[in-house]
Amino acid sequence: MNAKLPAAAVVACLLAASTAHAQIKIAVIQELSGTGATAGTNFKNGVDLAVKEINAAGGILGQKLDATFEDTQSNPGVAKGLALKAVDDGAFAVFGPTFSGSMLVSMAQTRRAEVPNFTGADAATLTQQGNPYIFRTSFTQLISMPRVAHYLASALKARRVAVIFVNNDFGKGGRDAFVKAAVAAGLTVTADVSTEAGQLDFSAPVLKARQSDPDALFVYTNEEESARCLRELRKQAFARPIVGETTLAGQRVIELAGAAANGVLAHVGLTVDAPIPAVHEFRARFEKAYKYVPDHNGIKGYTSVFFLKAGIEAAGKLDRVAVARALHGLKIRAAKQPGVLMDVAIDDHGDLDRASFIVQVKDGKQEVKEVLPPVARF
């Protein structure tokens, strides 16, 4: 009789141990310090929230997610090491980095190890290399910029556009994609002004833009710089439409620029102010957990974990290769997978097709002017 008890205890421990080991390891590699810290921290918090919610609801295929968070210091050399570490540790999926350069080096490692790699990086080249393991969490600039250019040409009836951009891989990449799209839409780029990250004084860029007599201005900089630029535009009484892509009309910029942000237009792929109840609920939960309003990177991080969930559920098993294959061509409906917040289709390159919005800032708030539907039918 007495021998059975310890035996049962041993069996129980073994069972507990085996279920404890049966966890889905995910590695979150993000810019948590250095120049990319704001974006990376938002993405990381989004993932963190998603993991908590999924685990509270029982996990994926009965197994909980075990997430580790690492900081790339906004340095591709460090990012490569962390990708190797994630592969060594047997991660099932890798999330990040967000910097395109860091993503380039990391995805070479995850590709070799056949680990699905989700990223919020925008550079178009990432999905043009035939890597079957990369999946975006936001539009490539090759999709978003044409939408901006189209809006400028058709809705704003602009023919001449001036460009102010920040000279780092984020801003330069966006500027290149925009200029290409603008020219394709028949617009003339009248001024092409580079600015520095951390630039304090925007009087020269705004002046140059104004002097080129454009019909509209396209601004593509980081948040603080966007705020300073908008303030300068207001100061110099720039009367033409100011258009941006995601960051310019973001909550943070509105807060930092104050009244100067009013009237700004932007194409946004993801926004916490989208007219979708699920998004508002997400925003509320995020604010409660992290005490600030998330930006689009937070949404990217959050939805990406649900992409993985959808992929695993579609594949039916915890096999990385099978999950990657299942994700290609997958259409995820928000009704079935509420965590993705909006219907999304993933194509064979890992690019996304999803609705997006044209917003305008009115009285310190984002107002959706137009909803641009996805190409795919859901």
């Binding site: 948590l32 310090s33 968070f69 690492e70 900081d71 210091q73 906004s74 340095n75 591709p76 050399g77 490569k80 090491g81 962390l82 190797l84 570490k85 592969v87 060594d88 395109s100 350069g101 380039l104 080096v105 070479a108 490692q109 550079a123 080249t125 000279n167 780092n168 891989d169 330069k172 990449g173």
Partner: protein, 320 residues
């Protein structure tokens, strides 16, 4: 320290350096490779700072020139074995070019001048897209092959880096034992007195500067092969500061200081990662504490012990 203990420590280090990577996985080998890059770079900086007594806060610029030279050369179809000496030679010339005007000013202003040089080089790397790829950088930099044997495996490349570091270390050792080396040390201790003894201060300082730059160039070449992606971020002012930090913390003017300092700069943050969001705070605090208690650097400890023993001995001798 006795010669015997020197040999023992050296032997142990050799065993660890040669054997450990075989036991480590991808991340560990990569990290050691990263450390080796900075060992070579700080060896050069140590020559400039520790032995010749100059201040250079722009070392990362030479690292960048080396990395880009190799990356551009290989993209153009040349072999790594051509890119490597080009990187070293280019940095040597740049070092001479920078040193010549800059060394006419006092040490503190030399620090500023090198700082300015770093920022200027970084701007060129960032802006001249036609040459450097600009902010997108140069991707898929290849690794060399030796006599048909490819070095692209992570373990193979590590041993290659180790070999390069060992060769450069040996060269430096010979240099420091030569009359040149003595001149450098005289320079460090008192430049005006050295001049009065007939040492051409200008020439030797310039030489120390240029050789230091060349070492950084080679380190940059190794870096390009290690990460296989070259873009401006790792060659910014912050990186120069970090390398300077490595030299001082390791022990400026001590031969193995760079190895220790590079370990502190590269490996310590990784070991501190368990502190999650605070790991860099811990790193900064460690640096402050290290310098505070060991201003002569970690390898300055033997000197302090020796000095303390000497003082104690002198005190006992002085007693009536």
């Amino acid at each position: 320290m006795t010669r015997r203990s020197h040999w023992l420590i050296g032997g142990a280090a050799a065993v660890v350096l040669l054997g450990a990577p075989g036991l480590l996985r991808g991340y560990g080998v990569y990290l050691l490779g990263y450390w080796l890059v900075f060992v070579v770079a700080t060896m050069g900086l140590n020559l400039t700072v520790g032995y010749a007594g100059q201040v250079s806060l722009g070392h990362a610029a030479f690292l960048g020139v080396g990395a880009y030279s190799v990356a551009i050369a290989m993209k153009a179809g040349c072999s790594f074995w051509l890119g490597l000496p080009v990187a070293a030679a280019l940095c040597f010339v740049l070092g001479l070019g920078l040193g010549f005007p800059a060394l006419r000013v006092q040490s503190i202003y030399l620090a500023f001048a090198t700082l300015g040089f770093n920022v200027a080089m970084w701007l060129v790397m960032r802006n001249e897209e036609w040459l450097t790829g600009g902010t997108s950088g140069i991707n898929d930099v290849g690794r060399p092959a030796v006599l048909g044997w490819s070095l692209s495996g992570s373990l193979a490349y590590y041993y290659f880096e180790l070999a390069v570091a060992a060769v450069l270390g040996a060269l430096l050792w010979r240099l420091l034992r030569s009359p040149w080396g003595k001149a450098f040390t005289a320079l460090r201790d008192n430049p005006i007195r050295a001049e009065s003894l007939g040492i051409d201060v200008q020439a030797y300082t310039l030489l120390a500067f240029a050789i230091g730059a060349a070492y950084a160039g080679v380190a940059g070449a190794l870096f390009a092969g290690l990460v296989q992606f070259v873009e401006p971020t790792p060659f910014s002012l912050g990186a120069s500061f970090l390398m300077y930090l490595m030299v001082v913390v390791g022990g400026a003017g001590s031969f193995f200081g760079p190895a220790v300092g590079a370990a502190v700069g590269v490996l310590l943050p990784e070991w501190l990662r368990f502190a999650q969001g605070w790991y860099l705070v811990a790193f900064g605090a460690c640096v402050v504490l290290l310098v505070r208690w060991l201003p002569g650097g970690l390898l300055g400890i033997p000197d302090r012990v020796r000095a303390r023993r000497a003082r104690a001995a002198a005190a006992t001798r002085g007693r009536p």
